[in-house]
């Protein structure tokens, strides 16, 4: 959920801005060292892609619907740090262009809906590569569980922030939030796994690094080569 202005206490909003800014700033610095300029338009259109797929609604229980967040998908396709950057731009864009999510809650929103999923799933991928066998099933399982967990974690954090701010009673809100998001998370996981298995089938090179993504490793394929 996009937390609007006024829902968070000043100190909570400011506290949440710290890790969000830190993660994005580190991502930007890292990208400055490793990213060649051919990838900037690619990151831009990927951000547009994430923005667009957040419009993908799917049914949840009781006639309501949830929508994709895309953090886990971004983490696998772009690697965790570039995913942080892209998700931050998407969330900020929603706040500035569509007034969806408050400017003063931007840090919290970027953290809950972007950084947690991007770094969490990215980290899970790295750990999985160390301790689990490297195969398709493991890769997709980690992505699926990661996608579900990132939605739950985001909901947990949002509830905690709202509770600490005194906007809603935490103990009452938490079960409701987690209950709904457990189902939304299933949609997130199903879509993420289906999407990644299709990428594995058609362009496995794009997720070669399984967690560090194509943008930092694979060379640019000239469009002409793809076309001919």
């Amino acid at each position: 959920m996009h937390i609007p202005d006024g829902f968070l206490d000043g100190s909570v909003a400011a506290t949440m801005a710290v890790p969000a800014v830190a993660a994005v700033a580190y991502g930007v610095r890292r990208a400055g060292r490793t990213l060649d300029d051919s990838k900037v338009p690619l990151l831009g259109v990927t951000a547009a892609f994430i923005f667009a797929v957040q419009m993908l609604n799917f049914p949840v229980a009781g006639g309501t619907s949830g929508h994709l967040m895309g953090g886990a998908l971004a983490a696998v396709l772009l690697g965790p740090w570039l995913a942080c950057i892209v998700m931050a731009v998407v969330v900020a864009g929603q706040a500035f262009v569509f007034a969806d999510g408050g400017i003063t809650a931007l840090g919290a929103n970027i953290f809950n809906m972007g950084v947690v999923g991007a770094l969490g799933v990215g980290l899970a991928m790295v750990l999985a590569r160390r301790i689990l066998p490297a195969n398709r099933t493991v890769f997709l399982s980690v992505a699926g569980v990661g996608a579900w967990a990132s939605v739950m974690l985001g909901a947990l954090l949002a509830s905690a922030q709202l509770g600490l701010s005194g906007t809603v009673p935490f103990a009452t809100v938490l079960p409701a939030m987690l209950g709904v998001h457990a189902l939304i998370g299933i949609g997130e996981a199903v879509i993420t796994v289906a999407a990644l298995s299709a990428v594995l089938a058609t362009r496995p090179d794009l997720i070669d690094g399984a967690g560090f993504g194509p943008l930092s490793t694979a060379p640019l394929t000239p469009a002409a080569e793809v076309a001919s």
Partner: protein
Amino acid sequence: MSGSHDHAGGGPVGDLTSRVHRLDPRAKIVGLVAVTLVGVSTPISAWEVWVACGLVLAAVAAAGRVPARVIWVRARVVLPLVIVVAAFIPFFRGGEVVASLGPLDVSREGLEVLGSVAAKATIGTVSAVLLGATTSVPAIIRGLETMRVPRLLTLIAAFMYRYLFVIAEELRRMRSALASRAYRPRTALQAAALGRMATALFLRTFSRGERIYLAMLARGYSGRMPRLDPLRLARADAVFVGLILLTLLPLRVIS
């Protein structure tokens, strides 16, 4: 908690030649974020500051001739969330009970939280709506860039905005094509086809990104985006920010 983003919103409206529309984007960002900060940091005991914030926003809307209907349509995204907060009011414990709804007590504290959240959310949302209604997105991005937001972020944002419409339209057509083949998921478990569609869209997006880069190179791009004329602050910009701060800050301090 799902708010899908309706792209009918966004983009400047009202009198595009108004003084507000012509202001430097930085002045509008600073001015309207200031209104939000003042509103959000004000406790309910100083509610007259909220009234002042509302008056300032109304003045900006009037000067830019932004129709009330547009503000309502774009700002109502926040409404469901305020309603959720309202739904939890009876669960606040403690404080003076002002009303009882069956077994549930409504406390003064709960009502104060609701009033405070609703006022602050309205001020913040309307500020953002007015910024968007009087300033084009590219101008906002340029303003942020001049305000030291890292260039990588503003570049990504600019490309994102340019291609959002292209990609969202592709997605809309793909969804229509899915629906026309009788795809009607009833539970989240049947969402896999959406994932496949997302991949098809991502691969298209990816090769578009590569083609864009070729098109940039073909026109002499060498790793640096060319800069346009620098933004220049005029007196009107100082007046705009000055008026907002002079109206709100003293009131906020004494309240």
